[in-house]
């Protein structure tokens, strides 16, 4: 009997604990932090009016704490050492670049730490006039010397720090002398002159990336930022930023707490605090939202869109695509004897056979768009590139005709080996196996025989073999870094030092190299658009590269969260976010 008493006593204890503070579990927005923040200027409501959360009304109010879940926290707290969205999410609240993308756009620049600038795509010299009166969170002033210190630091990174400084290396043509940066001069307190070794139409867009945020020189020094083993800039809470939030506490496995910077040079944020929590599993993130322990999360699984839309009190916030899923065809791959893809008509038949629209509903939760070009509709270059492309819309009969013309029929069907990656999901490829199955079905419907194959994503297997042109046909995709066709077509079809990028697709398209070289060199925006349109026309015309879908992504919030402005590139700030109850 005694044992039963023990069990019941324990059960009672559990129930009592469960009952304690139930309201805390049900409503995480019941913040204990005091409000009392001054109301901010009405101008900030401009961005907030792009409030994605429906049902909210009235003027933004200050106060409250937002708990938000991402897949993980930052890889490093040193902006230059990061290149992934999860790190950017946190760092772009704290640190700021000279220029940034205007809210909601991928192709409009606005000054942030730079008030204005002279210099454009055709110039090698950029003169930035810096914002006056900006202070770093550590109380030191932001000035031209600070900008110079950061640019010099990046260029002179020791080898160990180059490994994770992906964006600097990729956009500035490597490190050290001889890269894109000729010199950076602090002309006076508020003027910085950056001289490039050659004109670069992408320079301004590159420095909008959070990796190019300016860190307080005093903090760089006190954290030994350039010593790969001693540096604490990437690991410790510092006050090195200028952004609308300061980092208050950071436990990499548990939380990043951002507190409002009341001395911010621009519109002060509404929220008192933002707490970002890492929850790796997307289903667990949704449960955290439903259970009330967070009020928002990113990277919703497309299969959960319906659940969220159907649940009272939850809102889905769409982020337009800045990516593209494509099918790579390689007629020179020796996988299949007498590779049928060697015939242009067969490759065309592949594109005609695929009903791209039909992939969007089941795999992207209905959110995405058909990819007629590599660049998504959110890109400022989309229209001019599309103008150069001859679009092949889904037409199964046309596909069958083309196969017949090429000499294939039911007796001798064209056989292709078709690869997909495993152990990975990407915004453009939420379910690789499912997409593979669907496309296989479409190809078989018009008479192809498809041999399915797969390999693990980041083993040297899939990525390397795909990029080295080992597969007849494969899925891959791309998420853009910044809005310029060179970051899309250029990366995949231009030649790098080893000629590697071009081996992925087997077509030897006549005139393509010259067209790419000409397009890369074209600096006038209109002519540049046309030049890249020509490149795209050649590439899509030869059909070794079939773009399929631009997949939108989504965030989810409780309905009391207002003012989150989603951006295709993920360049998003919490400073425009407010809670309808002001955290009361």
């Amino acid at each position: 009997m005694r044992t039963w008493r023990w069990i019941s006593a324990f059960a009672v204890l559990v129930l009592v604990l469960a009952a304690c503070g139930t309201q805390g579990g049900a409503s995480a927005s019941a913040s204990a932090t005091g409000g009392g923040a001054e109301s901010t200027e009405a101008s900030a409501s401009e961005e907030a009016s792009a409030a994605p959360s429906e049902g909210g009304s009235g003027e933004p109010v200050s106060g409250g704490t937002l708990a938000f879940a991402g897949a993980r926290l930052a890889a490093s707290l040193d902006p230059s050492q990061t290149s992934d969205g999860e790190s950017f999410r946190i760092l772009q609240q704290i640190y700021e670049p000279l220029v940034d993308l205007a809210p909601g756009t991928v192709d409009e620049l606005v000054g942030v730490l730079a008030e204005s600038w002279e210099g454009g795509p055709e110039d090698t010299e950029y003169v930035f006039t810096l914002r006056e009166g900006v202070m770093f969170h550590d109380g030191t002033p932001f000035n031209a010397e600070a900008v110079k210190a950061n640019f010099d630091r990046w260029q002179n990174f020791p080898e160990e720090l180059q490994a994770n400084a992906y964006y600097y290396g990729a956009t500035m043509n490597g490190f050290g002398e001889g890269n894109l940066i000729e010199s950076v001069e602090a002309t006076d307190e508020t003027t910085v002159t950056i001289t490039l070794t050659e004109a670069s139409p992408t320079f301004l867009f590159a420095i909008t990336l959070p990796s190019f945020a300016i860190v307080s020189p005093a903090v760089l020094e006190s954290t030994n930022a350039d010593d790969p083993t001693e540096s604490t800039l990437g690991t410790d809470v510092t006050a090195g930023g200028t952004g609308p939030f300061k980092l208050e506490s950071y436990t990499p496995e548990e939380e990043a707490t951002l507190a409002r910077n009341d001395d911010y040079w621009g519109d002060v944020a509404y929220l008192d605090r933002v707490i970002i929590r890492p929850i790796a599993d997307p289903s667990a993130r949704l449960q955290a939202l439903q259970g009330g322990s967070v009020q928002g999360f990113d990277l919703v699984k497309p299969s959960d869109y319906e659940t969220i839309q159907g649940e009272e009190g939850l809102v889905l916030v769409e982020r337009l695509s800045f990516n593209s899923l494509y099918l790579g065809l390689n007629p020179t791959a020796a996988e299949t004897e007498g590779n049928p893809l060697a015939e242009l008509a067969v490759r065309e038949a592949v594109e005609y056979a695929i009903d791209k629209e039909a992939l969007i509903e089941p795999f992207y939760g209905g959110r995405g768009s058909v990819a007629d070009t590599f660049l998504p509709p959110s890109s400022g270059w989309h229209d001019s590139v599309l103008a150069g492309v001859e679009v092949r819309e889904f037409d199964a009969d046309r596909a069958r005709e083309l196969l017949e013309e090429a000499g294939f029929g039911p007796e001798n069907p064209p056989e292709v080996s078709f690869w997909f990656p495993t152990e990975v999901t990407r915004p453009y490829m939420p379910d690789p196996a499912g997409l593979h199955q669907a496309v296989t079905q479409m190809l078989e419907d018009v008479g192809f025989v498809v041999v399915p194959n797969s390999d693990i994503w980041d083993s040297p297997g899939y990525l390397e073999d795909a990029q080295n042109g080992k597969y007849d046909m494969h899925f891959l995709g791309w998420t853009g870094d910044y809005d310029d066709p060179s970051n899309w077509y250029g990366v995949h079809f231009g030649f790098d030092a080893e000629g590697a990028a071009a081996t992925q697709f087997g077509c030897e398209t006549e005139g393509l190299n010259d067209a790419i070289v000409a397009a890369e060199a074209e600096l006038d925006p209109t002519a540049r658009g046309e030049a890249w349109g020509e490149v795209a026309g050649l590439i899509h015309g030869d059909v070794c590269f079939i773009t399929l879908v631009h997949g939108d992504t989504a965030l989810a919030f409780t309905e009391d969260v207002q003012g989150y402005g989603a951006n295709p590139t993920g360049s998003e700030t919490f400073s425009t976010v407010w809670l309808t109850n002001g955290g009361e």
Binding site: T3, W6, I7, F10, L17, A18, C20, G21, T22, G24, G25, A26, A28, S29, A30, S31, A32, T33, T65, A67, A75, S76, Q81, E159, Q162, A163, N164, Y166, A170, T229, G234, T235, S249, T251, P252, E253, E254, E255, I275, R277, P278, I279, A280, D281, A284, A288, G291, G292, S293, D458, S459, L463, E464, Q467, L476, G477, D496, E498, A500, A501
Partner: protein, 335 residues
């Protein structure tokens, strides 16, 4: 006794050396490449070569291993490829969370496992026994991720009486991290409400993680008690007319506990390294989520050092179990 302990400690050295070789090689045999994981679609051969060189992965395998080994002797377990954080620092920051979760699971397992084992043993063949057998079978066979998601669905979402994830409500409580044991830190900060909140956060993951040890402890207890119940001294005690309670506590349980203590020790060791699923489902910032992330990103340095540290703790717990066992049962020492 001292000799016995010394011998066991010396044995640790070859065990750990062997482990370090195994882990080192296993990781490199597994598919996945840190450079590929870091770069993703951007993994052109040129980029991969640059990152591999910066991470020292272009060196021959034996050089990489000896570099690692010399590091180990200096107490340097390396830095994460991805975050450049010191692996030992990261481990120490996260381990308290894992210990806390493990203890919570063990408390639940013991609080239910031992009484249930005793009851089912005493009522062999009755419906209580049958029910207990079913429970233990379910406990062993139900996948943790399923149980975890179900527990959350029922107790955090449908009937929101417990929190769904995390270690404390960070919105409500800002607790300075002193010991990194949330229950201890809340008390140190004088936050009684925070302490209750931290304990509430421990319940669901504790149950999810505790079911397997609960079932095992229950079965071992049952088997062991059944054995002891058949012993002459129990019959004698009963015949002497001692009250049942006294017989149970003084004669039955005390003698039946020896195998159970061993199982408790082993299970605790296992749980310390086996909480990966539970931690991931419950967004628990412990060693489990850390290693899970490292495996996903092929962060070799974290995997090899993290797993080695866990293995070290596992053999250490084992050693403690053996020592305590030898202490409890003198026959062991001479075998």
């Amino acid at each position: 006794m001292g000799k016995f302990i010394l011998r066991r400690i010396l044995l640790l050295i070859p065990i750990l050396l062997g482990l370090s070789v195994l882990i080192f090689l296993f990781i490199r045999l597994l598919p996945g490449d840190p450079a590929g994981a870091i770069l993703g679609e951007r993994a052109t051969p040129e980029n991969i070569a640059r990152v591999r060189a910066a991470l020292g992965l272009d060196l021959p395998l034996h050089e990489q291993y000896f570099d690692y080994l010399f590091g180990l002797f200096r107490g340097d377990l390396g830095r994460s490829f991805l975050t450049n954080r010191d692996v030992v620092d990261d481990f120490l920051q996260r381990f308290p969370a894992t210990i806390e979760l493990t203890l919570s699971a063990m408390v639940i397992a013991l609080a239910f496992g031992i009484p249930l084992g005793l009851i089912t043993a005493k009522r062999r063949g009755s419906w209580v026994d049958q029910f207990g057998t079913v429970i233990s079978l379910v406990g062993i066979s139900i996948p943790i991720f399923f149980l975890g998601l179900m527990l959350k669905y029922v107790f955090a979402i449908e009937f929101p009486i417990l929190p769904d994830s995390g270690r404390i409500d960070f919105v409500e409580y800002s607790i300075p991290k002193v010991t990194r044991f949330m229950t201890v830190d809340t008390l140190l900060a004088g936050e009684l409400g925070g302490f209750v909140d931290a304990v509430r956060h421990l319940i669901l993951p504790g149950i999810a993680l505790g079911t397997i040890p609960l079932a095992i402890i229950m079965r071992i207890t049952r088997a062991s008690v059944v054995d002891v119940l058949n012993e002459d001294y129990v019959r004698t005690a009963n015949a002497k007319g001692l009250p049942g309670r006294v017989v149970d506590s003084r004669h039955v349980l005390r003698n039946a506990m020896l195998p159970v203590v061993t199982v408790i020790g082993l299970q605790t060791g296992l749980l310390l390294g086996g909480a990966i699923l539970t931690e991931t489902i419950f967004g628990w910032g412990g060693v489990g989520t850390w290693i899970y992330d490292a495996v996903r990103t092929s962060d070799y340095q974290v995997i090899q050092s993290g797993v080695l540290l866990l293995a070290f703790i596992f053999v250490l717990v084992n050693l403690l179990v053996d020592v305590s066992y030898a202490f409890l049962n003198p026959r062991i020492r001479y075998s």
